[in-house]
């Protein structure tokens, strides 16, 4: 290979990996929708609704994880925090009125924020690596969830459950999808474009430079985890809304899947780069896959295998692009 060719190949590999990072997830999502339509021609409003409903908690978990990862951390307690919000709402709302339930939802989301902030504070103060802290607090929050509700149960007023299940605006825009858009749009979008958002990205990218630029990286990290907790709270309430009950062990799935969604969604685990859209689309994709498997009459247990394979493939393709780049 001549020098010029090599240069071209290297820059091609480079732009490919960059291109994949930026557009890979939307394309992948589009492809999977098309595949779903091909498998299941009747895919219609009802399926969109069940997809949105099924994906809502995971999308919230993915958002929570994305915010934490962007600011340079990782939260392996996401699932347990969702479980806490889930069992808390299911046990508190069981005999509450609709309006009380709304108030309780806000309260539970605040509890999520506090849990997240505790994670962040422990990481900042204890000097234990974030993986270890959140792996452990995940264990602790899991215990808390079991303490609140020992076995699956509880409930919520039916009109509260209706919020998630309905499609009040348009049949193709189910409420669940609307909730997702609102939650992300009202909380994350304004923060992202503010100086607070910049400081989250800055802390993830280079905490020392951030500190020298006037950011308090410790505070930024605590806020990031707290914000993640908010989305876990929403995710937990959404889980109650979509399943109608609280289940103390349901959370485990969301920890790993939220990391999966973040990785597949193109957020760099090194921090400082990426957004929330990719992970949210990845969450939809990860929910769509088992649905497709059911349509295809395949054991939905393959879903987990596919999810793992997808993570491995995505990161390996990224690594492979970098590898080819390094060779030339």
């Amino acid at each position: 290979m001549s020098a010029a060719n090599k240069m071209e190949a290297s820059s091609a590999a480079h732009s490919l990996s960059r291109y994949l990072r930026a557009t890979g997830m939307p394309l992948l999502f589009l492809a999977s929708i098309l595949a779903t339509l091909a498998i299941h021609r009747d895919f219609g409003a009802f399926d969109v609704q069940s997809l949105a409903l099924g994906a809502l908690p995971l999308a919230m978990a993915a958002t929570a994880q994305a915010i934490v990862v962007i600011s340079g951390g990782i939260d392996l307690s996401v699932g347990s925090m969702i479980a806490v919000a889930n069992v808390l709402s299911a046990s508190l709302m069981q005999h509450a009125s609709f309006r009380q339930s709304l108030g309780l939802a806000v309260l539970i989301i605040l509890v999520g924020a506090v849990q997240g902030a505790i994670n962040g504070t422990l990481i900042v103060l204890s000097r234990i690596p974030d993986i270890v802290v959140t792996l452990t607090t995940g264990f602790i929050w899991g215990g808390v969830a079991l303490l609140i509700l020992e076995r699956p149960g509880g409930g919520a007023p039916s009109d509260f459950l209706e919020i998630g299940a309905g499609a009040d605006l348009s049949p193709v825009l189910p409420n669940a999808l609307l909730l997702l858009i609102v939650a992300v749009g009202v909380i994350w979008v304004p923060i992202r474009s503010s100086r607070l958002g910049l400081s989250l990205y800055a802390t993830g990218s280079d905490p020392i430079a951030a500190f020298r630029s006037g950011v308090d990286p410790r505070l930024a990290r605590i806020l990031a985890y707290g914000l993640g907790g908010v989305f876990c709270g929403i995710g937990g309430v959404a889980l109650t809304m979509t399943t109608g009950i609280g289940a103390p062990l349901a959370g485990a799935y969301y920890t790993l899947s939220s990391v999966a969604a973040v990785v597949i969604g193109g957020v760099s685990l090194n921090g400082g780069r990426g957004g929330v859209l990719g992970p949210v689309l990845a969450a939809l994709l990860l929910t769509l896959l088992p649905m497709d498997l059911i349509f295809l009459n395949i054991d939905p247990n393959y879903g987990q295998v596919i999810q793992g394979t997808l993570i491995v493939l995505v990161v390996m393709i990224g690594g492979f692009a970098a590898f080819m780049q390094g060779r030339s």
Binding site: R127, L135, V259, L269, V315
Partner: protein
């Protein structure tokens, strides 16, 4: 007092052994008569699989990595052993270890060659193995899984009713670990790669070879730990080793190995595994509900890790 503190700083392993002694003493004071040779024997029996998982975790954490697939691999190897035992013990055993080898190779490829972050890579392979085992179990409903007698002896047996059989395996692994880490070129390289990968590259070391072997060894150790575990419980189920994921990381951290790599060793992990085992035993004695136990266990791990971080800061 400050002299004692300085001594502990210099020999952190001493602090750990001291802590272990305090825990054991605490039990004996709270419930006089608990600490008997049989209790010690049982503690060692239960600590062995954790310490073997911790050995693999130590190897990868020394290079600045982590392996979150160890629990799935341990469960998988146990399940494969139990479901294939009908075709011969040796065959089942080999198959179980092949699973470890395979996952190790995939992890190694991703982390060492393609430079994927270990956390993500092993999370992915962990999910793959876990999912694959679930699917596999659907096809295996017909055959009755059973654990070979040899493995039961390994996981639960005791010589002269007192010395746990798995202690011999653990001791052999520990000796090999300590020798490898401190007296071989590969051991030196594990520390070196964890401390500064770039420097190793510049020194002419092909870093990927080191990491590749590292992750393969870790997965193999996880598979072995799975065998010991299933020998102990005599029941292969699909959540066998799940509860060991946190402790496998925690015993390494408490043992003083830095998760950022380049610092630590297996001696600390051994004591870490013993501390966690004794801690579980204390919590069992406390007679509190399971969720409370779980919360206390987590909280104590956090405080131990935090105290350790302070001590060595």
């Amino acid at each position: 007092m400050s002299k004692a503190l300085a001594l502990l700083r210099g020999h952190t392993i001493l602090a750990l052994v001291l802590l272990l002694a305090v825990f054991v003493l605490g039990i004996e004071i709270a419930r006089p008569g608990t600490v008997t040779p049989l209790w010690v024997s049982n503690a060692l029996l239960f600590a062995a699989p954790l310490a073997i998982l911790g050995a693999g975790q130590t190897l990868v954490m020394l290079t600045g990595g982590i392996d979150l697939s160890v629990a799935s691999v341990a469960t998988g190897s146990a399940y494969i052993l139990a479901t294939n035992a009908a075709s011969g013990d040796g065959f089942a055993l080999a198959l179980a270890l092949v699973l470890g080898l395979a996952v190790g190779i995939v992890n190694g490829l991703g982390v060492a060659v393609l430079r994927v972050q270990p956390l993500v890579m092993t999370l992915g392979t962990g999910l793959m193995v876990g999912g694959a085992m679930t699917v596999y179990s659907q096809y295996m409903l017909a055959s009755q899984p059973h654990v070979p007698a040899m493995i039961q002896t390994l996981g639960a047996g005791k010589l002269i009713g007192l010395i746990p059989v798995d202690l011999f395996l653990w001791a052999a692994i520990a000796a090999l670990m300590l020798f490898t880490l401190h007296r071989t070129g590969f051991g030196r390289l594990l520390y070196a790669v964890g401390d500064n990968r770039e420097a190793c590259h510049l020194a002419g070391i092909r870093v990927w070879r080191v990491l590749f072997l590292d992750y393969v060894l870790c997965a193999l150790l996880a598979a072995i730990a799975g065998l010991v575990l299933v020998g102990g419980t005599n029941a292969a189920d699909l959540s066998l080793a799940d509860v060991y994921l946190l402790p496998s990381v925690a015993c390494v951290i408490i043992g003083g190995t830095s998760i950022f790599g380049g610092r630590g060793g297996y001696a600390g992990t051994i004591v870490g595994a013993l501390i966690l085992t004794v801690l579980t035993s204390i919590l069992t004695l406390l007679d509190v509900p399971e969720p409370v136990k779980q919360i206390l266990y987590g909280a104590i791990i956090l405080s131990l890790a935090a105290a350790y971080a302070r001590l060595t800061a």
